[in-house]
């Protein structure tokens, strides 16, 4: 154990220069003593006997010569049962408990235990005396909500260990020793339900990493059908302000078909977090019948909270996500917004007087973003079970321009891109994901060829609509006009989705598959329409019924009735199939059957 101490030499914003004696490591945590307060800081550069530290608090009042104690430990989070349902700041301090201790305002230098040391859990041993264990192996389980929370050998222990003793089934406090292990050299360790893990190191105690292929259903039609996200994959949502990034994240956090959701509110408005905070305990998760809060962890470092802990917050979040992945669960991490995190890096880089890259972001921006998203993945654990971490990050590009460094660095490493458009949000077309610019490399839950055919209609329909602006409706051929109507139909009944509607707001994949068939039927059919007025009227009728269809309960009478009406209306005017579509449909049919 090191007991290095140092003295403050300089202060510049939230960066403090410290002169030290002894050894200090990079990313080590130290505490600056200011009066009666100890301010948590992290070493971010070492030069000779001077260390530069970023302070996770406001730096007012720090003076030259103030004492600094180094802990010898890297910035870490506490892992153990009881994380679910918590609301933490970027350094894993529980915010409700901070409020109990300090009132309305955050108090500098006040740090609390992430997990209440007095909490106790019903422990069931899963190992026995004499067994050989390694880092990440399960020694017992405790029931945390609906999940079986695995108490594991700390991920940092190297080599093989032998279990010396393990407690019998019963209720223990988190700090009680539940297992004792020893290695070949006779070193012993007492394990509790808690241990710490440095946030900036990825947890890698698994057997094998797989290519993400299973869809992660968000129940947003446009995403699941057209721009799918895979379990263990990554995606990003860039968009100008007001385009609905945060709302889309909120919807996803509610409806996504995963076991656990970690929300990292990173440098955004506090008001938005409050909505989640107040609503989640009230909302029921349809899959489990419990409140949504019981499957959620919120890491909340809003824009007015200290910048350095904003940088830490995304790492805190992803570490907790990886921890639950180790239990064979599917975890979704939503980071809003990664641009604020990048800006925090930029601020520190500026204070360190590093040579700036594009728009003054540090040169290592891309590699840092890449290594963050690389912490997503689907893995096979040692016991054969599978777990995954999916990461979805919003990006807030300056001026809504996707050419800026953070968006570009993110696009390089993610598997799906949901670009939001101001035009669509201004036109109140939600979700405002731009259907022509967005993309996904993951397979759709619906046949990819069918989806590609629909996208093609969208692209060609858009071309017609651009042309019509110049030549007017009169100058457009009837075929083109029908194509245009088809693309508008697709947009308004399938791509747009009313998140406030209890039925339309979340659409299961089963329902998506079902209603997609009728959509495809409309898009791929050739219709017996003689002029533009009749075409417009016909598609208006179709749209009206399809919208009612969307808002009627799955497999209810109304649903069946609407479906019948739609089919009848289609059959009335249908001449036949577009031959190309017919081919695709046959192939898709044979693949499915």
């Amino acid at each position: 154990m090191t007991n290095t101490t140092g003295k403050v030499f300089g202060v510049n914003g939230n960066m403090v220069t410290v002169t030290f004696e002894g050894d200090v490591s990079l990313n080590e945590v130290g505490y600056i003593q200011v009066g009666s307060q100890k301010l948590k800081s992290e070493v971010i550069r070492i030069r000779g006997n001077q260390a530069e530290m970023q302070v996770f608090e406001q730096t007012g009042g720090i003076g030259v010569g103030d004492t600094v104690e180094f802990t010898g430990e890297l910035l870490a989070v506490t892992l153990g049962p009881g994380l679910l349902g918590q609301v933490y700041d970027g350094l894993q301090n529980p915010l409700p408990q901070l409020a109990e201790a300090a009132g309305f305002f955050l108090k500098r230098g006040l740090y609390l235990d992430a997990i209440d040391r007095d909490s106790s859990w019903e422990f069931t041993p899963k190992t026995e005396k004499g067994a050989t264990v390694r880092a990440g192996d399960t020694i017992g389980t405790v029931p945390e909500g609906i999940f079986e929370h695995r108490v594991m050998v700390p991920f940092g222990l190297a080599g093989e260990w032998t279990v010396q003793s393990v407690v019998s089934k019963g209720t223990y406090k988190v700090t009680d020793t539940v297992c004792e292990i020893a290695d070949a050299h006779g070193n012993t360790r007492s394990l509790t339900m808690l241990f710490e893990w440095p946030v900036k190191r990825a947890i890698s105690v698994f057997e094998e990493r797989y290519k993400p292929s299973e869809p992660m259903v968000t129940k947003v039609r446009m995403i699941d059908t057209f721009f799918p996200v895979a379990r263990g994959g990554t995606y990003c949502i860039p968009g100008p302000f007001g385009a609905g990034k945060t709302v889309l994240q909120q919807i996803t956090s509610r409806h996504a078909e995963v076991d656990i959701v970690i929300i990292a509110a990173c440098g955004e408005r506090a008001g938005e977090v409050v909505e989640t905070l107040q609503e989640f305990p009230e909302l029921t998760d349809p899959r489990t019948g419990r409140t949504l809060m019981e499957r959620t962890v919120i890491i909340c470092n809003t824009s007015s909270m200290p910048v350095a802990s904003r940088e830490a917050s995304v790492y805190t979040a992803v570490t907790i996500a990886e921890y639950y992945r180790q239990m064979g669960l599917n975890v979704l991490l939503l980071a809003d917004s990664t641009s604020r995190w990048a800006q925090a890096m930029r601020e520190m880089s500026g204070r360190l007087e590093e040579i700036p890259g594009e728009e003054a972001f540090p040169a290592y921006l891309e590699s840092v973003i890449a290594s963050f998203y690389e912490r997503a993945g689907v893995v096979r654990l040692k016991d054969g079970s599978m777990g995954s971490v999916t990461i979805g990050g919003t990006v807030s590009p300056a001026g809504g321009n996707f050419e800026e460094p953070v968006t570009q660095a993110t696009l390089k490493v993610v598997g799906a891109f949901h670009g939001l458009s101001r035009d669509r949000s201004d036109a109140r077309k939600y979700p405002a994901i731009h259907p022509l610019e967005s993309w996904s490399k993951y397979p759709s839950a619906i046949n990819d060829e069918l989806v590609a055919y629909c996208r093609d209609i969208l692209v060609r329909g858009n071309e017609v609509s651009q042309m019509m602006k110049v030549v007017g409706e009169e100058g457009t051929s009837l075929d083109d006009y029908i194509l245009y109507q088809k693309s508008e139909f697709l947009d308004s009944v399938y791509l747009q989705q009313n998140s406030f509607d209890p039925i339309d707001g979340s659409v299961t994949i089963e329902r998506q598959r079902h209603i997609f068939r009728i959509l495809f039927d409309v898009l791929a059919s050739e219709f017996d329409l003689h002029d533009k007025d009749s075409a417009r009227n016909y598609f208006n009728q179709l749209r009206q019924i399809y919208l009612d269809y969307n808002t009627s309960e799955w497999e209810s009478d109304a649903f069946g009735k609407n479906e019948k009406e739609l089919k009848k209306l289609i059959d009335e005017k249908k001449k036949g199939y577009d031959p190309v579509a017919e081919d695709i449909r046959k192939r898709a049919g044979s693949a499915e059957g």
């Binding site: 300089g10 409050v274 601020e347 500026g350």
Partner: protein
């Protein structure tokens, strides 16, 4: 007695450097020069070299001037005595009243714990239909007014100051033209709103560092009043000047600029101020309206752009009116369901028709034939602009809603409005003269 240092080693812009011991970060010092005394704040420590930014500016400061450290950070007096008074960016009186020294509070305090925040629930009535009806202002909201220079944003702010249903107004002026300052003072005095107003005003001719203090001082005072149960409305004009002052200091300090010369922490700096808007459970609230002038009418300029990401919507002021498109109060749906049954539907319906009107205007300007429907829309548009959008209209929300129905009835048949029939039977005015047919005939 604190030690006095009489050797200033470096003077660069508004920043001076002295050699001193025992100094703390953010501490204040008093710089005494031939031109008088000024406060200065410690902004960098490096060994025994202390850099300070001088509130009254570096101009005329001599290497031989005296610097005395005060051992405390910037503070401002807080009491009921502030009401009706006018101060500058350092908290010194600008009116002829006495200086206030009692009950000093620190400025730029810590942020509110997010878990103590509550969902906004109260509307603030302003008597301006474009706000009350279409983009309702909500207690604890933070909203900027995006506008080009030349637009009457200060007139708008002064009207809101006089009419808004709040307990207290704090007006923070940054880089204000002296004329505008006088305009605010005279308008509020004449309107009788002075006794519930506090001014912190930095004018364009004042030292630039004081401009940086204005939002912090205003919000620190607002926070104290809010904790005492007052509903405070903070009006800040113009936040672009604040950002420009940040830029000026950052460049002087040789910081690496990020975007168009602004420092990399512009977002955090703006957010730290705007996020002070809050509704304290069991006490008062702070609501913030700030003017953000857009250089070159460019919303992607760093200041409006960063602001847009922080605030909960925005008002666009264009052509002397609050634009219905683009303007957005993101919190309005939290309150407009409890005002009157027709509020939401009327709000959406009238804007939809106004959008149709804009299309007709476009068609007309391109020389297309105007159908009967176009004629109706044209008539509706001009009525809407004259009776609703004009900023001089001052009526309560309920009257504005009635007026909305009146305008619709003057122009359209009920079923042409696309409103639910339930609302039409309840609210559609009877016996309204329709003159559109005669005009277009």
């Amino acid at each position: 007695m604190k030690k006095v240092y009489s050797r200033i080693e470096e003077i660069s812009g508004n920043v001076i450097t002295v050699t001193a011991d025992g100094v703390r970060y953010s501490e204040l010092a008093l710089v005494t020069s031939g031109h008088g005394k000024s406060l200065a704040e410690v902004i960098r420590l490096r060994g025994n070299k202390v850099s300070l930014q001088v509130y009254s500016g570096g101009r005329g400061v001599s290497t031989g001037d005296e610097v005395q450290f005060l051992g405390k950070p910037m503070q401002v007096s807080f009491s009921e005595n502030l009401l009706g008074r006018i101060f500058d960016g350092s908290g010194r009186p600008r009116d002829k009243g006495p200086a206030l020294e009692e009950n000093l509070i620190e400025i730029g305090g810590p942020s509110v714990n997010p878990s103590k925040r509550i969902i906004p629930r109260n509307m603030i009535r302003t008597g301006i239909p474009m706000i009350d009806l279409f983009n309702t202002l909500v207690e604890s909201q933070k909203l900027p007014i995006f506008s080009v220079s030349g637009e009457p944003y200060n007139e708008l702010l002064s009207r809101i100051a006089m009419q808004a249903e709040v307990d207290l107004i704090i007006l923070g002026g940054m880089g204000l033209k002296y004329d505008d300052f006088l305009f605010f003072r005279d308008t509020l005095e004449k309107g009788g709103a002075m006794d519930r107003t506090i001014f912190f005003v930095h004018t364009a001719s004042d030292p630039v560092v004081e401009c940086l203090m204005v939002p912090d001082i205003s919000l620190a005072v607002a926070e104290k009043f809010a904790l005492q149960g007052k509903r405070v409305l903070v009006l800040l004009t113009d936040m672009t000047n604040f950002a420009d002052s940040l830029k000026e200091i950052a460049i002087t300090m040789e910081q690496v600029p990020s975007n168009r010369g602004y420092p990399g922490d512009l977002y955090s700096q703006l957010a730290a101020r705007y996020e002070k808007a809050v509704d304290f459970e069991g006490a008062g609230s702070i609501t913030t309206l700030g003017v953000t002038s857009m250089p070159g009418d460019d919303v992607t300029h760093p200041v409006p752009d960063n602001t847009g990401y922080i605030t909960e919507g925005q008002y666009y002021l264009r052509g002397g009116r609050i634009e219905p498109f683009g303007s957005l109060s993101r919190l309005k749906q939290m309150v407009n369901n409890t005002t009157r049954g027709d509020h939401r539907a009327l709000m959406d319906g009238m804007i939809r028709l106004y959008a149709n009107y804009k299309e007709s205007v476009e068609k007309k300007s391109m020389g297309f034939r105007m159908s009967e429907w176009d004629q109706k829309l044209l008539r509706y548009g001009s009525l809407f602009e004259a009776k609703m959008m004009d900023l001089s209209v001052n009526i309560p929300l309920e009257e504005a809603l009635d007026l909305g129905w009146q305008i619709l009835a003057e122009c359209f048949d009920p079923e042409e409005t696309g409103m639910q029939s339930k609302l039409l039977t309840e609210f559609w005015p009877k016996n309204v003269e329709r003159s559109s047919e005669q005009e277009s005939a």
